[in-house]
Symmetry: C2
Subunit: 121 residues, 2 copies
């Protein structure tokens, strides 16, 4: 397989839909995904996967059971497996996700926001 | 364990040494590390680990056997296991690394650049 660099800005400019992570890299059975969020997601948790949210551009809130995290560009957080979380963003935010390949975006919840087979871009 | 966000700029301002990755996050037995590079590293490979280099600030070259990659801020590349690579940077570059916890910075090479027990910052 050819080894090619990925330009994150270019990748973000190639899609517009919210809450639909796109695969941009794979390593060690983990995926690097990019997503645009706007509005409210669903409270959920992942049974077996820790999940990293890294804000590339904009502002992201992640509601937990006992507090709400606030992240700006250049900040990341790891949500451990089993921890309920609900991302929301008053304005569009660009997020890089790092998580095991098996991770479903809505975790233990299955609803209209669930993306069971994310695209690679 | 308390869930806390990490500000990458703040973390980079907390150390000055080159070629000595610092641990800033852990998830799914993978580590997120930050490193400052300047000058030439050693050509090496990782037997069992794919490695991601994401440039936060500056310019990074990665020499492979058949070509040289050039990355600027906002670009990343995955170097698959077994692939020889030699990072170099004419000027200081800030890099975020994603890799399995078992990854040694100099891979199959053991020399003065080897950091066998990276610090968490």
């Amino acid at each position: 397989m050819e080894i090619k660099k990925i330009n994150i800005t270019h990748k973000f400019s190639s899609f517009d839909d919210y809450w639909s992570p796109k695969i941009v890299g794979e390593l060690n059975n983990q995926l690097v995904k990019l997503a645009k969020f706007k509005g409210e997601f669903v409270m959920h948790h992942h049974e077996n996967e820790d999940e990293l949210f890294y804000v590339i551009d904009g502002e992201l809130y992640i509601e937990l059971n006992n507090k709400t995290l606030y992240l700006q560009a250049g900040e990341f957080v790891v949500i451990p497996k089993g921890v309920s979380h609900k991302p929301y963003a008053p304005e569009e935010v660009h997020v890089l996700l790092f998580e095991p390949a098996a991770t479903l975006n809505t975790g233990n919840v299955n609803n209209s926001l669930t993306v069971s087979d994310p695209n690679t871009i």
